[in-house]
């Protein structure tokens, strides 16, 4: 470390910085121009903000699965997108049959609770199954190997759902109890958005409490710190890992229920993009960190929903919302260049 900055900064670093600065310039110039043009009313921005918060809540719950598993196994559960997808898929079938029989309208709370619990259980089951079949036998294999099985498992599950339930879109029935909107200090908020934001927040508190306050949470943290030492202390490592997958899966399942309230359609490919964004959120917040996942997801949700109009509209980009996914991925690359540990995380570079 005795080298001067001139020796330490390489050409590569300069190029990386150039990319970063270019992105920053686009953001700043775009924002100023958009705001100057005055094309959007303040109300539009508020709408987008709530949309972003709702999305952020969903991402946060999916990101929990990535973060918990990463914390313990130091691997990215690539099949998590399908764990997420299996939740809403179950929910659609349940909700349709409940609505048909009139059960849902008669007691909406019980109906919703049943749908949520069962869907979360299915998601948790899928997550545990994937762990058992695809990851556990390969726990000591070279890094690339479980990653490839994860991709394989992800595709298998996607097309298994397609095979079993058909390739078409399945519409989620509208719930009468959740229609309409409320007026809060002159701001219009849709009920669904409110439910999603609150639901996500409550779930996050519960998850945080499980990890920080319960015995099994303590075991999880111990295993993530040092597997061998945890095993010596009498912790059943396999069971903790299964519990972690189940917890992350259930959380993804609930995220799925909330997601389907915003976008009321289920199909076999629906998990791919939200899960990719949730991963981005987990990295943004600092992977392995529960609070970080929540923070990262909220930031990402807001950027994705407000960003296209705010950054790109002023630059004369037509229909900027087409590029909202691209923005999310650019953010991912951007963080990984400048702060790979994320907002709240510890360093995660190079260590094997």
């Amino acid at each position: 470390m005795l080298r001067t900055w001139r020796q330490r900064v390489t050409l590569i670093d300069l190029m990386v910085w150039a990319i970063g600065v270019a992105i920053a310039v686009v953001v700043v110039v775009g924002t100023i121009k958009t705001l100057q043009s005055g094309k959007y009313e303040p109300g539009v921005w508020l709408d987008l903000t709530f949309k972003g918060l709702a999305l952020g809540g969903v991402y946060a719950l999916i990101a929990m699965g990535y973060t918990l598993v990463y914390g313990i196994l130091k691997m990215i559960n690539f099949a998590h997108s399908e764990v997420f997808m299996s939740g809403p898929f179950t929910a659609v079938f349940l909700a349709i049959s409940f609505s048909k029989s009139g059960f849902m309208d008669a007691n909406p709370v019980v109906g919703m609770a049943l749908v949520t619990i069962l869907s979360a259980a299915v998601s948790a089951g899928v997550a545990v199954l994937v762990e058992r079949v695809a990851y556990r036998p390969l726990r000591n294999a070279p890094r690339l190997v479980p990653l490839i099985t994860a991709i394989g498992a992800s595709f298998f599950l996607q097309y298994a759902f397609r095979g079993l339930y058909g390739s078409g879109f399945k519409a989620y029935p509208t719930l009468r109890a959740l229609q309409g909107s409320i007026n809060f200090l002159g701001i219009q908020i849709f009920n669904t958005q409110l439910v999603v934001i609150l639901g996500a927040f409550v779930m996050m508190v519960v998850l945080y409490a499980v990890v920080q306050r319960t015995k099994v949470g303590k075991a999880m943290r111990a295993v993530s710190e040092d597997k061998e030492a945890a095993a010596l202390m009498g912790i059943d490592v396999d069971r903790v890992i299964v519990f972690t997958f189940a917890l992350g899966g259930a959380s993804a399942g609930i995220a799925g229920i909330l997601y389907i309230l915003i976008f009321p359609i289920a199909w076999f490919y629906m998990g791919f993009i939200p899960a990719l964004k949730a991963f981005t959120a987990a990295v943004l917040g600092g992977i392995g960190n529960v609070a970080g996942a929540f923070l990262g997801a909220m930031v990402l949700g807001l950027l994705e929903s407000v960003g296209p109009n705010l950054f790109l509209d002023g630059l004369g980009v037509p229909t900027p919302s087409q590029l909202k996914d691209a923005i999310a991925f650019v953010i991912l690359v951007f963080i990984l260049i400048f702060r790979p540990s994320g907002i709240l995380g510890e360093a995660v570079t190079d260590k094997a």
């Binding site: 990319i19 099985t149 298998f156 097309y159 990719l276 991912l332």
Partner: protein, 549 residues
């Protein structure tokens, strides 16, 4: 020593597993989809083979694992088969009580009828149970055959099924050669093989497998020469439609050779490989399509397109260099999506055509020869594949190639040895991007157009699957993987629906059973089985600690 569960319990458990797999195969719709495709005309369809296969396989595996006396092995196989039948019977029973179809789209009356041999419910279910018990016992019986015959037998079974599946292809080829043309009607029915044809294929392939011909060197050379000649004449033999398939396979092999360098040699899992494919195709489109005021010819545009691809390989490589394998995978995936979204966007529509894509892209022309048709383009693709194989195999043993492998095996050690990981990784990305871009330009020339829909994430998965199944780092593996994973689904249209389902299952199964691939590369095999070698030489003291089963 823990008390082992009784063999019967094991058999029942295996039977239930086999039954569940069969049931899933039925419910995925594969059985009904392949119901019309006879392997042996009037006797057995591919659909039936698909639902019997798990039972047969597990019967065999169980007999192999328990290593029992003949009669006991047969009984265990039969029990396995019977209990797999119980699962299917339970499903059929449930299907009579409830309308499963409202949820499971494939649970049709036709499926029930197929499973119960078109009999009434009770006799049908009983027949199915008996039949599956027989299949399980047959699987076990296969184990009882002496090993050298067993190998030939398994080979013969596989070849017969393949011959039945590829009926159209084989008969088209036979048609072109006078002396064998009359044999077609003798060997093949309208769908699948005739009984005589099946027996012929079975005996022929079985005999070849049994004899294990040890050919003199000159015969092998002549055979290779013949293969080369056939490869050159293939488009003439196969006609327009099959040449199209051939071109697609060729393009994927070309891309596989490139990704093999990134993933196989350097160990960098790149899931956004399709991005370079798209960049190649689109650059070619922008430069040559008159719609977008491109005026260049294919050959003039090619170096520019490749340069753009290599540069974008560098740009992608830069931010991801410091990342570990799994991060890299997701970031490259994101990059692939960014490229697709940009191409699709209204923003870039004036330059890239938006959702409409680009039409009238130039194809290669040399002198007076136009390589526009599928049959002619094939030769350009073959030429580029040969170049790619040459480059890849030379790179593999070069200094750069060995540096890649050192980084793949242990990055920290490699860096300590003075390897510059930045330039090395960047070069891997750039080389991979080069081949993908080449594939992209040819793809654009093949369709004479480029649409955003062609550049889905699934393309990356396709290429990745073929190199993993062929054997990471192995060049012949890429060719075999391409033929099997791209060629087969293109030929069997019914299969297209289940392509990614099967890929996913095969990827997982491959990693669990044979992570080095079908045609392993020597170094890689060593690396993946390192732990076993060590375990044999010295028992690991902390083997328990990891909590592995």
């Amino acid at each position: 020593m823990q008390k082992l569960p009784s063999i019967w319990i094991t058999a029942i458990r295996n039977g239930l597993l086999a039954g569940t797999v069969s049931l899933l195969i039925c419910l995925f719709g594969m059985v009904m989809q392949f119901e019309q495709r006879y392997i042996i005309s009037g006797v057995v369809t591919m659909g039936q083979i698909l639902y019997m296969a798990p039972v047969f396989f597990l019967g065999y595996m169980l007999a192999r694992r328990l290593n029992l006396a003949p009669l006991k092995a047969l009984a265990v196989g039969a029990v396995t088969g019977f209990f797999s039948g119980i699962i299917l019977a339970a499903f059929i029973g449930l299907g009579q009580l409830l309308n499963l179809r409202s949820v499971l789209v494939q649970a049709s009356p036709e499926l029930y009828a197929l499973l119960t041999f078109n009999l009434d419910l009770i006799p049908g279910v009983l027949a199915m149970l008996g039949f599956l018990a027989l299949i399980g016992a047959l699987g076990a019986a296969l184990f009882l055959v002496p090993p050298h015959i067993r190998g030939a037998l398994i080979g013969a079974l596989i070849w017969t099924v393949m011959a039945g599946l590829l009926r159209d292809l084989i008969s088209t080829v036979m048609q072109t050669w006078g002396p064998v043309a009359p044999l077609i009607s003798w060997m093949f029915a309208r769908s699948g093989l005739t009984l005589i044809g099946a027996a012929f294929v079975f005996l022929l392939s079985g005999a070849l497998g049994f004899v294990h011909l040890k050919l003199p060197v000159w015969v092998v050379r002549v055979v290779w020469l013949l293969i080369a000649l056939v490869v050159l004449l293939l488009p003439r033999i196969l006609g327009v439609f099959l040449s199209d398939v051939l071109d697609t396979v060729g393009l994927f092999i070309l891309m596989g050779l490139g990704l093999n360098i990134v993933v196989g040699f350097a160990g960098l899992l790149d899931l956004g490989y399709v991005a370079f494919f798209a960049i190649g195709a689109y650059t070619m489109g922008v430069l040559t399509s008159p719609e977008l005021h491109g005026t260049l010819t294919y050959w003039e545009a090619l170096p520019i397109a490749l340069l753009v691809c290599v540069l974008s390989g560098f740009v992608l490589g830069l931010p991801v260099l410091k990342m570990r394998g799994d991060y890299l995978a997701i970031v490259t995936l994101g990059f692939g999506e960014i490229v697709r979204l940009l191409v699709l966007s209204d923003w870039l529509e004036p330059w890239l055509g938006g959702t409409q894509g680009i039409q009238h892209i130039a194809y290669p022309v040399i002198g007076n020869i136009q390589f526009g048709s599928q049959q002619m383009l094939y030769y350009v693709i073959i030429a580029f594949i040969l170049v790619a194989i040459f480059i890849a195999s030379r790179l593999k043993d070069s200094h750069l190639g060995r540096t890649w492998m050192a980084l793949r095996e242990d990055e920290d050690v490699a860096k300590a040895m003075g390897i510059n990981h930045v330039t090395t990784k960047l070069l891997a990305f750039a080389t991979g991007a080069f081949f993908a871009g080449l594939g992209g330009t040819l793809f654009a020339a093949k369709l004479s157009s480029a649409y955003p829909q062609s550049f889905q994430f699934l393309v990356s998965i396709n290429v990745l699957s073929l190199i993993i199944i062929g054997g990471m780092g192995s060049i012949p593996g890429v060719v075999v993987g391409g033929l099997a994973l791209v060629g087969l689904p293109e030929l069997l249209r019914e299969f297209a629906e289940y392509r990614y389902l099967v890929y996913g299952a095969v990827l997982v199964a491959m990693m669990l059973a044979k992570p080095e691939g079908l045609i392993p590369e020597a170094r890689r095999e060593l690396e993946l089985h390192e732990a076993e070698v060590e375990a044999v030489t010295e028992p690991e003291p902390e083997a328990q600690a990891g909590g592995g089963s």
